[in-house]
């Protein structure tokens, strides 16, 4: 009997050893391959979008390096360990947001940064992008599912406090993404459909009433320009008109790498940051964008698979929310640039130039990897 048990153990050992070097260092192979593919693609597009700017490229590459390192470190942390420290991290995050709020108001201007010169400089709102879903996941994982009304309410308060603080910065785009990441945990936790529907049903009459009875004309005008930027062609509409022309003129196969005229002749504003998909669309056409969407779908698919296979409820909820939020980034950015959605400042994940968002995104995937590679009884399928 004992012998048998030993044999089982040793075969498990063998399986682990077989389970590859990558799993032992808690890295998920498929995710890593997809992420590296995106990184390479990003630099490729960025080279063209930035007007062959090597400095910019180098900076982006080093941000990738930093992000991958951060991902690797986070992947080593056990989900249980994360769950234990999440409440404290949440409190620290909210505290930092309050500090930013107070500092911003003292300095008579908006600020999003905590800045201790020479020591550290970062945005607490970026930090909240991971802490927010983790907090709600930690809270709901201990309750029965689907969540009771009381627990939903408490979750909403937990989401609401940082949301309001970030709106005040003011950074509506980030605030909405953080709201979405919290809401997705509730969704994954089986929030009842009739509650979801009744919130949507209630929002419509409230919005209509606000429009007719509360809002001033100038506020209405702002909302209208926000919803339909092309009505303001000399302001934000300018970007949309140009980005649509850039994407549209790319056709099915595109004009070819480095041959986009809209972006290279400075007609497309912010071509290497928020509007980079227009460069891709112009130079690589519908095929290029579909290829990118395919890679994104693979990434999301892997994320949802990790969600389904996660062994703890905390892991499931967190992985599901991070994956769905990632999709929101993709959808909002491409929708905005192609003129489907209002213009909010959301970068295209992994492709847009910008170190902060890269590090945050890769850290989030580090969490996914941790959830997936710290399971007990890993079976080699």
């Amino acid at each position: 009997m004992k012998n048998n048990f030993d044999r089982m153990l040793s075969s498990e050992d063998v399986m682990r050893r077989r389970a590859s070097f990558l799993q032992r260092i808690h890295i998920d192979g498929p995710l890593l391959i997809i992420l590296l593919t995106l990184a390479a693609g990003s630099l490729f597009v960025l080279y063209s979008a930035s007007g062959k700017n090597w400095d910019l490229l180098l900076k982006q590459a080093s941000s990738f390096g930093l992000g991958l390192a951060s991902m690797f470190v986070i992947a080593q942390l056990e989900p249980r360990f994360m769950a234990r420290w999440v409440p404290l991290a949440y409190l620290v995050g909210v505290l930092l947001l309050v500090v930013v709020d107070v500092m911003g108001h003292n300095a008579m201007g908006a600020t999003r940064w905590i800045n201790i010169p020479g020591v550290i400089r970062f945005q607490p709102s970026e930090f909240m992008k991971i802490i927010m879903p983790a907090t709600i996941a930690w809270y709901l994982a201990k309750r029965t599912l689907p969540p009771h009304l009381k627990h939903v309410m408490i979750s909403l308060v937990l989401i609401g406090v940082p949301f309001i603080l970030i709106v005040r910065q003011p950074d509506l785009g980030t605030a909405l993404l953080i709201l979405a990441s919290g809401a997705f945990v509730l969704f994954m936790g089986g929030l009842r459909w009739r509650w979801i529907l009744s919130v949507v049903a209630a929002a419509v009459p409230v919005a209509v009433a606000m429009w007719f009875f509360v809002m001033h004309d100038y506020q209405k005008q702002r909302v209208l320009t926000f919803l339909d930027p092309e009505s303001d062609p000399l302001g934000t509409g300018w970007n949309i008109i140009q980005s649509k022309a850039a994407i549209g003129s790319g056709g099915v196969f595109g004009k070819g790498w480095l041959l986009g005229t809209q972006s290279h002749l400075d007609f497309l504003p912010e071509s290497h940051t928020d509007f980079i998909i227009a460069v891709l669309g112009e130079e690589f056409g519908l095929v290029g964008i579909c290829a990118l969407l395919l890679i994104y779908l693979l990434l999301i698919g892997r994320g949802l698979m990790i969600t389904a296979q996660a062994q703890t409820l905390f892991g499931k909820l967190l992985a599901g929310s991070l994956t769905m939020t990632f999709f929101v980034y993709v959808f909002v950015n491409i929708g905005m640039v192609s003129g489907l959605l209002p213009v909010v400042g959301v970068p295209l994940p992994f492709i847009s130039y910008g170190g902060t968002s890269l590090v945050t995104l890769l850290s989030a995937f580090g969490v996914l990897m941790s959830i997936h590679t710290h399971r007990k009884w890993i079976a080699q399928v």
């Binding site: 029965t144 599912l145 689907p146 969704f187 994954m188 936790g189 089986g190 303001d232 062609p233 000399l234 302001g235 300018w238 008109i241 140009q242 649509k244 022309a245 850039a246 994407i247 549209g248 003129s249 790319g250 056709g251 099915v252 005229t261 809209q262 002749l265 400075d266 007609f267 669309g281 056409g285 519908l286 964008i289 579909c290 969407l293 779908l297 999301i300 698919g301 949802l304 969600t307 389904a308 409820l313 499931k316 909820l317 599901g320 994956t323 769905m324 999709f327 959808f331 491409i334 929708g335 192609s338 003129g339 489907l340």
Partner: protein, 629 residues
């Protein structure tokens, strides 16, 4: 615990999440399909449209500047309109090496290096590389022809017709209407970049500046498709601009000309108001200048000439000229004395020719050194008796005097819509402590009573103080705009009316002012000879240089520019005032001798018809007799 103990059902939770993963995955697939459909629409269905735009060197959004609102006088005579004018503009992006193209322009049009430097400065102010920047204005026929012939050497350069402000009345309204000029870099920073994207001019002074938002209008735009040379191939979409609002002024061009004629070439200022409404009927500051010079950019030499002229034509004497009001302030001081109870209409003061404070040696002289004997309020105003007002001011004290005169508008901005009006100065204890770090001396109160000392007022403020007496304390802020797009201007900050304890005090002071004009001993009796209506008026003299104690004002010793300024204020008809006039003649010396006839001429021009008869609407109403005291 009444609640049953719940056990976690891990299998159920996992199933729940797995269901949600399926829902989420479906939503992701659906939305990705939406994105692909959108991209398919843009890149396949609309491909021809977008690729044409892109290949023919793209879509341009061109702002269409709104037409600036027109300005009329009260009878509909045009004061400011817009005239087509040709200018040369260059688009940086299409010019290639634009520095080289500038050289070519200078060569073709035979211009100088200075012009080139100016062009370069203007080019650098251009906001977007694909927007044409106007660099030279008011092209002549010959210049247009030269550009056309040399077009092949001038890529990105075109002759553009645009509407430019024009002031057909020239110098008449330069100080009231003001002028527009090119937007400068400082203004560029504060302007709404969208609304001003097609606009090159902005109101710099006067009405043009004050009503800039109304006159400017709302920008329109068109999306146009252009070829590689920048020629517009077709307009894809157009939104019309909303033109600026028209403004009808209360100024009357005939009265304005009559008032200017009355000054007969002397330097000075005239304001005429309708006391019932606050409408400004005429506003003269002489000498004036031609506002058209400023519209397309005045040459440095011409500007230096205007700026450095000893006659100061650019100086707005009506709004910015500060003068001690002299005796013209006496009617307001008299109201203050009556209302505060320190004097009564019948109380008398003996005038030996001077006034002395108890225990002081200093003699405060009356202008009439031999003295007027016993004077009451009526006589004091009629004779402009200084001694009476020294006594009155001494009894009132500075605090009450300052408070009353403040309510008459001295020391505060009185107008509703005039740009850069000066507030003047009404001194007080606090003011002196704050600015000079000194206590207030009683002697300073005395000279305030006759409008001398620290007190300073603009001709507009004097007109308004007089209008308040004519209007029995009812405040109407003086304004130049009668209507803006049919709507009268609104006073957001109305002044409280002056309410007296005894309303008949107004009539007592007005009576004194009538005596100035019509009594045989009145100081300005000569100015009323032959008048067909009753005038209430008051003269004044504003000292330019101080005279020492015991010294006599000797005009022969003073240079012309150091002679006193002559002031006069008045209103008519005295029983039903329709016009208030305030006149300042620079170095005119005598208020009653020089300024009063100017006031009379302005009143005649307003109240009399061409045959020299009183217009019917101003004739004294027979039924209104009971209102007379």
């Amino acid at each position: 615990m009444s609640q049953p103990i719940r056990l976690k059902d891990h299998e159920k939770d996992a199933r729940l999440v797995r269901n949600r993963v399926v829902v989420g995955a479906s939503a992701v697939m659906l939305l990705v399909c939406v994105l692909i459909a959108r991209l398919y629409y843009l890149q396949v269905i609309q491909y021809d449209y977008h690729s044409t735009l892109s290949e023919n060197n793209r879509v341009h959004v061109q702002p269409i500047p709104p037409t600036r609102g027109l300005i009329f006088d009260r009878n509909g005579v045009i004061i400011a309109d817009n005239r087509p004018s040709f200018s040369l503009s260059m688009t940086r992006e299409r010019a290639g090496d634009w520095q080289q193209v500038l050289d070519a322009i200078v060569e073709v049009l035979e211009l100088t290096e200075d012009d080139r430097a100016l062009f370069e400065k203007r080019m650098r102010q251009g906001r977007r590389p694909f927007e044409p920047v106007p660099i030279l204005f008011e092209l002549t026929e010959e210049q247009i022809a030269r550009v056309a012939v040399n077009q092949f050497r001038l890529p990105g350069v075109e002759v553009v017709a645009q509407l430019v402000r024009h002031y057909p009345q020239g110098a008449h309204f330069a100080h009231s209407v003001g002028y527009v000029g090119r937007i400068n870099e400082k203004e560029l920073k504060t302007l709404d970049p969208v609304n001003y994207s097609g606009t090159h001019h902005i109101g710099k002074t006067g009405i043009e500046r004050f009503y800039e938002p109304q006159l400017h209008g709302q920008v329109g735009y068109e999306e146009v498709e252009t070829n590689a040379r920048g020629r517009v191939l077709r307009v894809l979409k157009r939104t019309d601009p909303k033109p600026g609002q028209d403004i009808v002024l209360s100024l009357d061009i005939k009265l304005q000309e009559a008032a200017e004629a009355a000054l007969a070439g002397r330097r000075g200022a005239i304001v005429a108001l309708d006391p019932r409404t606050g409408e400004v009927l005429a506003m003269v500051s002489q000498p004036s200048f031609d506002p058209n010079l400023f519209v397309t950019g005045i040459s440095f030499k011409a500007y230096a000439e205007l700026r450095d002229s000893i006659d100061r034509p650019l100086f707005n004497r009506v709004l910015r000229g500060l003068y001690p009001p002299g005796s013209t302030i006496k009617p307001a001081v008299a109201i203050a004395g009556l209302d505060s109870g320190v004097v009564m209409a019948a109380s008398r003061v003996f005038d030996p020719g001077y006034y002395q404070l108890p225990n002081y040696d200093h003699k405060y002289r009356n202008w009439n050194r031999s003295g007027d004997g016993w004077v009451d309020l009526d006589t004091a105003i009629m004779r402009s008796n200084d001694t009476y007002f020294y006594d009155l001011a001494h009894k009132m004290g500075i605090d009450r005097l300052a408070s009353y005169l403040n309510r008459f508008g001295i020391g505060r901005r009185v107008s509703l819509d005039m740009f850069e009006e000066s507030a003047g100065l009404m001194p007080s204890r606090e003011w002196k402590r704050a600015t000079r770090r000194q206590a207030w001396f009683p002697g300073e109160t005395l000279i305030l009573g006759i409008g001398q000392g620290y007190m300073q007022a603009t001709p507009l403020q004097l007109a308004q103080a007089t209008a308040l007496i004519a209007n029995k304390g009812k405040w109407n802020r003086p304004h130049l705009a009668k209507t803006i797009e049919g709507q009268p201007p609104v006073d957001d900050d109305p002044m409280p009316d002056i309410v007296l304890r005894d309303k008949s005090d107004w009539a007592k002071v007005t009576h004194g002012m009538e005596q100035v004009m019509h009594n045989a001993r009145g100081t300005a009796r000569k100015a009323s000879i032959g008048a067909q209506y009753r005038i209430a008026g008051k003269s004044g003299t504003a000292q330019v240089v101080a005279i020492k104690q015991g010294e006599k004002y000797d005009r022969n010793k003073l240079q012309e520019r150091h002679r006193d300024h002559a002031l006069f204020v008045g209103f008519a008809p005295a029983d039903d005032p329709r016009i208030v006039v305030s006149v300042m003649v620079e170095n005119g010396e005598s208020g009653s001798g020089v300024a009063a006839p100017v006031v009379r001429q302005v009143m005649d021009a307003w109240l009399l018809d061409e045959q020299g008869h009183l217009k019917a609407e101003y004739a004294p109403a027979t039924v209104a007799q009971e209102t007379a005291p």
